[in-house]
Each structure stands twice: as structure tokens, then as C-alpha cells.
Amino acid sequence: MTADGSPTTTPPAIEMHDLGHAYDADLVLRNVDLRIEAGEVFGFLGHNGAGKTTAVNILTTLITPTSGTARVHGFDVVSQRREVTSMIGYLPSEVRMYPHMTARENLEFFAKLSGVADARSAVNRTFEYLDCGDLADRRVGSFSTGMRQRIGIAQAIVHEPRVLFLDEPTAGLDPVGVRQLRATILRLNDELGMTVFMNTHLLSEVAKVCTTIGVLDHGELIYKDTIEATTARFPDETSLEDIYVRMESVPT
């Protein structure tokens, strides 16, 4: 570590060490050790209530873990919150944004909060990049789920974060919307080198988008490996869904 707390060697994009969290007496995350390198697209799987969203909330500094540590590019999510938040983008599940404001107004607001000096230009570039300029000057309250999701992604990337957190990004999307989301994630990773951390239930998408997956079961990380290695490990299973169903008994 240097004097300012930054690491001397290249740290992983995301690192959890013995991470745990409890809501009152309910332990939802237990001793999670996880390392995700820069440039990966990581799919975080698990049943409802497994602790996936809690993990994302810790990494995005929204809650403080009750035990263990978590770092983003070497910066601690608790003691170096400002550094962490300046390099992440976050799309929570079911985001609605400000319905009485236009998409442009929403994005400019969030861009400024992220420290972008020329918010207007950044927002215009983002609209172009995501090909949703037609939504720019319409009020978000009139948007469908798919449109809101696209603007949601826009606010998450307008400040060009190094790490993008997506919590159930495909929820409520139709097949066309899912396909567009997939293409966007792949572009962000491929062209900008953005690390993507994605909670999802849609295993078919995980197979097409992610480079690495992890499986959480009742707060414990029970599996983590690349997609290729996972497919090779379970040669008899024809889909990731079948593999996932078998995973609960497989040690990491």
C-alpha cells in the first residue's frame, strides 16, 4: 500500500475477504471469499434470498458489512468510500428514476453528482452510445420497463466507471430488451474494458454474456469458475441451468 492507501501492485477489480453481513440476527452473507479480475463479466447466481443483492449493496457502499472486508480496485468500500464510488456504476433492480423529469435531466443530474465536469456532453455521448437519443427529451414517467432500463444503464455508465454493478437487469424485460441488454454489456466490456458484476436468474443470458460465474447458497459462496471450466466440468449437462441445479453439492 502507498501512503494514500492505494495498492502498489495491480489489484483485482473486486475482492471480498471473509465478507459477512447480518440483518439483526439473520445472517445473510457468510464468510464470502471472492476475487474478480479487471475486465471480467461476472455472473452472480443464487436462489431468492441467497444474499446476492446484499453483496452488491456492500460493494456499492450502500451498507456496511458486519464482518470481513471488500475492496474495489484495491480501495476499501468502508474506509475509502469516496474513491470506490467515483469508479463504480450501479443499476439496482426496479429503478424508476424521477418521473417528472426528462431522461436528459435525470442523466445530467446523476452525471454531476458523479463529478463529471461537462455533464451535457457526457450525457449526449451516452445517449448516442446506447442509441436511445429518441428518449432524451421525454419524461421518464411515460416510459415502459424496457425504456426505463435503458436509461437506468445510461445513468450507470455516463461517468465511465471502471466497474459496473447490475442487479437483476433483465427483470421485466421482453426478449428484445434482453437481447439489447446483452449486446450493451458485451460492448461495454469489449470496448471500454469495463468489469461487470451482474446478479441474475436468467441462466441463458449468463451463458452468453459472462466470463465467470459464482453461486451463492444461503449466504455462502459454493462455486466460482469460468464458464469454459464449468461447462467442461459438467460434460453430461446440456445447459447451464442443469449445471446450476447440480451445483449445490459441488465444493469450490
Binding site: 494514500d4 441467497a50 417528472h100 423529469m101 435531466e105 456532453s121 448516442e128
Partner: protein, 347 residues
Amino acid sequence: MTDLSTAPLDRIDEPVADGRMIDSARSRILTLARHEYRTAVRSRILVALLAIVITITAISVYIGSVDHRSKLADYEAYKAAARAGGITQIAPSLLAPLSLLRGSFEYLEIIGAVIAITLGYLTVSRERSNRTLALIRSRPVSAGEQASGSLLGALGVISTLIGVTAVVGVVCVGVIGNDWINAAQAFELLLAYLAAIVYMGVFYCVGAIATANTRIAANGLMIALAVWLIVVLILPQLGDTLDADNQLPGGLFSAIGLDRAGETTILAHFSAYENTRIGIEELSFAKHFERFAFAMTEVQDKYRGFSLGQLLNEKRNDIAWLLLYPTVAMLWLLRSFRRQPAIAPTS
């Protein structure tokens, strides 16, 4: 399609070694303030309440101004007749144009406080219902910056309301009452309206604090309105009801035939009762605002003829409360924003 990576962003700042980013903190606070202001003016219910206050202010000032105009004409006629008769010692006018704004201040006291509470409630509930609190807090925005920005924006909204109300009132007094206020009166009126901004600012904090500290936002609104009910209506009402002089229309002591000196002599025998009554009134922040505003606007005729320095000295107790309440409210607001969870508990 645009390649984001070829056009690097100009950031306002980069993370610095010592963690301080003063300039960007200012930028974030101003961004939040502008956002608060813009959202407020697009809220239908807020605009409706503002319209009610401005309209009824105009009506109440109009009613008083019409009466004032005829009394002023009578006084001018008296002066003309006195001069024509060679009288040099002319009795000063007992008319106080600023006192025509009494109704305006009473509406700010009652309805203005509800507007401010609504603003505070909306600040917090909006982020919850739009699920945008996580989007704000996952950015380098501290709870203190969020509280400061929101409060600053709200004060902007409140100042706009009060500014419009002030202009409407002064113009009504001048045009309808035919009595334009002078520079000294304008300054006293300015102080009264500044007190109104502080007063409403405190109720904004009440609305935001109550909402931030309840799981269901609507319950927070009800709690804030209950506080309003007690502070603005019940406590002053108790103080007024217990006032001996208010037991008869036109005043008890007048009906008995006692002047001010006599009233003071009699009430000295009931000091415990009077102290209890005054103590109840002292608990009400609304009463302190009212007393200060009424002194500045010559509503209470015992203050007519006082210089500004004398007025401020007389009202030093109320001024102290007008400074203490907002200080406490702001600290509590900051604490509430810090403690407010960014997300609902989930697994």
C-alpha cells in the same frame, strides 16, 4: 456509434491523497439544490398550496387596504383642514400600513408551515419511491452534502414563495391602500420575511426528519402534521384561551373599565397562572415567529414609534428562539440523513 473511450471525461476532480474535495462538494450540493428546486416547482400539490397562500394573501391584504385607504383619506383631509385653520401641531397618523400584512403573516404561519412540511416529506419520499436514493448514495455524495443540498433547494423554494407573497402584499398596500412603505419600513418588513424563511425552513426539516425516520413515508407525513398541529395550533390556542383579556369580545379589562396599568396591577396577583400561560406559549416556535413578525410590521401598537434597535432589543428573546430552533433542526436533519438506510433490508 459513438465510442465513449475516445473522448475522456473531464472530471471536476480526481480522488486526492487527503480525501478533501471542497470544490466538488460545492458542485454536488448545488446540483442537489437545483434538483430539489426544480422537482418542487413541478409538484402539483405544492403549486396548488402556493397558489392558495398567494391568493388568500392578496385577498386579506386587499380587505385591509380598502379600509386603510378610506382612513388615510380621512387623515389627509384632517391635516388639510388643520393647516387651513392655522394649526401647526398636527396629531400623527395612527395608521400603520405594514400592519395590513398581518393576515399574510398568519397564513405563512399556518399554511406556510404545511407547505414546508410537504416539501420536506417530498424530499425524502421521492427518493424512496423512485428508488433513486441508491443511485445518489452509490456516488461520491455524503449524507451531509445531501442534507445541505436538499435544504438549500428547499430554502430557494420557500424564498420564492415568500418573495411573491411579499411583492403581492406590498403592491396591494400601495395601490389599493394608497400608502407606499418607506425605506425604513421596507427593511423591517425584510427582517420579518427573513424570519418567515427561517420559520418555514424549520418545518421543512420537521417534514424531512419525520419521513426519514419512518419506514412508511406517509406515516412520517402524518407525524410531521401532528407536530404542526401541536406547535402551530394547539399551543398558541391554549395560550390565547388562557389569556384573561380574551375571555370577552373586545377585551375583559376594557369591559371592566381598566387601562393597561390597571391590567398589569391585577395580573400581578395571578403570576403563577400568567407564567404558566406564557410558558405554554413559549414552547411554540410559531408564537415566537408571530411575535417577531408582528413587532416588525407594527401589528402590535405598543411597538409603533420604536426604532429598529429598540424593536430588536424588545424581541431578543424571540430572536434567540428563531436562531436556536433552526440550528437544532439542521443538526437533526443531518443526523436523519446519515442514519437513513440507502436501501430497504433485503437478502
